[in-house]
Amino acid sequence: MGVKEPDRVLPVLRWSTVVVGAGGIFGQLILLRELLVTFYGNELTVGVVLSNWLAAEASGAAWGGKLKRRAQALSVYSTGLLLYAFSLPLSIYLSRGSRTLFYDLLPGEAAPAGAVFLTTLVIVTPAAFTHGALYPLGCRFLENTGKRKKAAGHIYLWETIGTLCGGALFTLVLAERLLPISIALGVSFLHLTAYVVLATFSYMHIRWLWIKGACWITLGLIAVLLPSLARVLHETTMARQWLGHELVEYKNSPYGNIVVTRRHGEYTFFYDGRPVLSLPIPDTALIEDFTTLAASAHPAPRRVMILGGGLGGLVDGFLAHPVEEVVCAELDPRFPEVVAHYTSPIIERELTDPRTRIVRLDGRRYLAHAEYDFDLIVLGFLEPDTLQANRLFTGEFFTLAKHRLASDGILIVPLPGSPVYLGEELASLNRSVYHTLGNIFHHVVGIPGEYNLFFASKTQLDLSPGLFSERLKERDLTGKLATQAYLEYRLNPTRIEWMREILHQEIEEPNRDFYPRTFFYALTYWGRAFSPGVERFLTALGHIGLFPFVLITLIPAGLAFTLRKKKNMEKKFIPWAIGTSGVCGMAFDFLLLLVLQALYGFVYQMTGIVIAAFMGGAFAGGWWAMHRVDMSKEAVIFTRLEVMICTLLPALGSMAIVLQYFHLRIPDLLLGGILSTFALLSGSTIGAQFPLACSLYFQKEGDEHLKAGRLYAADLAGGWIGGMALAFFVFPLFGLWGSIAFLLMLKLGSLGAILCFFRRLSNTDGSPKWE
């Protein structure tokens, strides 16, 4: 079987490797979107998905690398292509059916927190493992063509080109235009084509002409049937995901996923898997109560601005009052387009009333540039358990709102609450917003209810039932809900005092864009319902604080200093340095996306560009380290790269602050450019370290594979642990600056350890590099 593959197979291999690269990034991005919907839009899922993808891909690469006989390479490689063609649609199927496949959940029952981890691992494994295996298999295959020396580098280059092109194509062209299943089937088709082309051009595989012909005919048939197959698969998988619902619309926007279902004449609008609106009859009790109290709190509201959840009741409620204009901006500017398709009396009134103005722009951005001030700025019924929603509960947003309020204007913020009892986590959530408002507004009052309502103003607030009743009478709106008895019940001073006392029992830190305390409390509130253990764990970690974790990260530096004179100790710390770089690599990706989401709310849009730029950077860095670094200076360069990572971490924080300052003025294209440049830079720094670490770590000839394996394992373990730790507790607990501080200390610890052995590693005294 020692037959060499013909040269004509090389272009085919190149092309198929580009396909593999593109397929990988497509797979990651599609599953990221799918799982965001499965897990209700919580952006921390991004960290879990990226980490688990990394782990499964690494396992695949390790398995593929074990293939000893080069002669098997083509058949195994092409089988890998076939497998990937099937595994990506399979992963989508698993993701959409996960609630019924993996857990005995009732329809509509949310999955517990632990499920996020396990389910994600199971779902991404088929695609990620296969994709990981294709890289070493491709290398073996290339070696078989006689290009042994540079096989790894070539395959890596082509795959990275595929990744970069795929990331850009997905983000800029495909994501909004095609269904995920169509994109996945497109990827599958390309892999199948690669398989058939390889089979046709290779000696080693299919020789008989009729089989080759059959392969091409089958491929042609698949191509013809692809659109209808995509439709059938989409419908089948959506039926699993939306069991018991009749799905009438499915749409992906740069901000999230919108689904509309119908049951017994009622349309329900789901955003990232959560019901947000029902038509033709929404939650009238909640809406009417809210709009009545909010509009009556102001003596004569002329201009009202609603952010998030305005359409489908709130706008209508405010229009009942003698207002001049109601401006409505949704979290997702595409949402109104979808709602407009489903006419109902409420929507019709809202959209046809000349006083309504629907803003197809991010509300925060709109508010910054609004031409006039508002009498009322109102948040819809949002829950700050995603960073996308949390953007409207931060001190930065409240400050902006304060500047946009007229002198007697009121900001009204509803939060999950209770008219009878506030549990500790619900109280913390409410306190967090209350104290954030209290830092910005002189007067803040909370009214308990199914949703607690917070009224914040620059001037004194009078929330007496009599005054509200008077105002409603003046506006001739005394008819239905807001009777004197009802107002006395809702604005009961004893209840308001009861809530005030709870809000003042403890002082919570203010909620900020990059220190999202309210987001954290919303997560613990959610955890309380679904995973009390996780909630207790998070709360306990919160009490411990950041300092002990920082101390732990410095232990290796202390150890290195103590053991610095011991023989052969220097090599023990290189895997640690690589592992911590793995943590930082994942952190750069993940934190960039979180910064983006905290400021703009469209993580969906930019994920592809950020990940692709990071991977491209990693490739460029690795190439530079292998080809351009003078290996006699490898220890110096390695150490400087460590310093570079330490620099990039605060640079990320600084960039976040600059973006925060200018984010309402920067065009999206420039933003994409800034983020991808940073991702490229951080990726290249991380990528350059690995070859240098390998070179430093190889003690003698013969055991390179073993040592490289160890370093690779350290790198991957770091990435995986980094993603998990950041997603599960570091970021939610300590925010962006806390996370950066933690990572910086971690990296300074590894830098310290390397510096302890710097002389020996750099071999400056002329003695052998490894004693």
Binding site: Y40, L106, G108, E109, A110, G244, H245, T261, R263, H264, G265, E266, T268, F270, G273, R274, P275, S278, I281, D283, A285, E288, S418, P419, V420, Y421, G423, L426, H435, G438, N439, K480, L481, A482, T483, A485, Y486, Y489, E501, I502, H504, Q505, I507, E508, E509, P510, A529, R628, V629, D630, V636, R640, V643, C646, T647, L649, P650, G653, S654, W737
Partner: protein
């Protein structure tokens, strides 16, 4: 390249220094923000030793006990707590550990219960505590019901006479045991109800209907009205969604009717889980045959809650269909709840179809029931009106 990386190193260290300073400034600023809030602590009492021996239980061998308050009949070893989290075996004696420790006390409109045939437009003094003997995935008050008293705290000790005095002081005619399952704090409500009866205060409670017959019969003489949640009409639904059973609930309903206490039934219609028209018809037939056609039945709209956060709200059409079924079966007072402004939020005379109680959600706009009769045709209207 060597020189370049050297410069990077120097710049890096400067940047790290700036970052550390920035971080400190950030932390200091954060601290100063918080200090602007004036703290005023609410009295938060520590758990007292207050506990009351359970009224219905059996002592078993080896210091074990068997609770007889609800259908679960929990057998508890020493130190163990019951399924409801509120009863503990201490040294072979079963105690109610939430006695005198209400966690929520509020004055609400009676329509909130819902009780539509009981002093419409009046106010009720509501008490709730920790714990429940069901595990409903859609529980509206899960913050209270799905936790222990230690987890949620309480505003006690508040003795029965304190509660009754509170109602008298606030001029509230009725005390209601609601928010969580009253069965799980039976002794407390029994003592309050008994005392309230003596003081002329009316007593109602809202329950899942799982109390055992003996304690139920002991309590009912002191109770004026009961709202029972009939959560569904299949064993499967009760087991899957509430970890409970249907049969004890039916038994409770029948006993309440037998004892002549006013009864209203609530059926929360949850899409895909208990909205099957055949089940609804069977439920309505059961109510008609076993409890009487004049028993008010409330079909209420579900909204995503607790663990069922991804389910859509109940379509109003489903509720209307359920009401049509109930009316076809012969029930006289069938309501649609949680849909403010809906026609069947209000009470209509079963004879002349005149609007008797004009409601909009919790607000009552007019009552046309005079001496328990329709103000138009004189038809007797079931309920407690004065």
């Amino acid at each position: 390249m060597y020189r370049f990386t050297g410069r990077i190193t120097i710049i890096s260290f400067i940047a790290v220094g700036i970052f550390v300073v920035a971080l400190n400034v950030n932390l200091i600023t954060r601290g100063s923000d918080s200090s602007e809030i004036i703290s005023s602590a609410t009295p938060h009492l520590e758990d007292s030793e207050l506990k009351m021996e359970t009224m219905f239980y059996d002592r078993l061998d080896n210091n074990m006990v068997q609770c007889r308050i609800c259908f679960r009949n929990c057998i508890l070893q020493e130190g163990e707590r019951g399924f409801c989290r509120n009863r503990e075996n201490i040294g072979g004696t079963l105690y109610n550990i939430v006695y005198g420790k209400p966690s929520a006390i509020m004055v609400d409109p009676i329509e909130k219960e819902p009780q539509f045939h009981f002093l419409p437009g009046s106010r009720i003094l509501c008490l709730g505590s920790a714990g429940c003997n069901f595990r409903c995935r859609f529980c509206h008050n899960w913050h209270l019901s799905q936790r222990s008293i230690e987890e949620i705290g309480h505003s006690g000790p508040l003795f029965p006479e304190d509660v009754v005095n509170m109602a008298i002081r606030q001029n509230v005619p009725t005390i209601s045991f609601t928010y969580n399952e009253p069965t799980s704090w039976y002794e407390y409500l029994y003592d309050i109800a008994k005392l309230a009866k003596d003081e002329g205060i009316r007593v109602i409670f809202h329950s899942n209907g799982s109390m055992n017959p003996e304690p139920l019969r002991a309590l009912l003489p002191y109770v004026d009205s009961v709202t029972i949640d009939l959560k569904g009409f299949t064993d499967e639904f009760y087991e899957k969604v509430s970890e409970a059973k249907l049969e004890p609930v039916k038994q409770t309903l029948e006993i309440i009717r037998e004892e002549g206490v006013w009864l209203e039934i609530v059926n929360l219609v949850v899409p895909t889980l208990n909205d099957d028209p055949d089940d609804i018809r069977r439920m309505c037939e059961y109510i008609r045959d076993s409890l009487g056609e004049y028993t008010p039945l409330h079909f209420t709209r579900f909204f995503p809650n607790y663990r069922l956060t991804d389910l859509p709200p109940t379509p109003v059409e489903t509720l209307e269909k359920a009401r049509t079924i109930a009316r076809d079966v012969g029930l006289k007072y069938v309501y649609i709840g949680n849909v403010p402004g809906h026609r069947y939020n209000s009470t209509f005379c079963p004879h002349c179809d005149e609007k008797l109680v004009d409601r909009y959600h919790f607000s009552v706009h007019g009552v046309r029931v005079e001496n328990g009769r329709c103000g138009t045709c004189g038809e007797s209207i079931s309920g407690i009106w004065e």
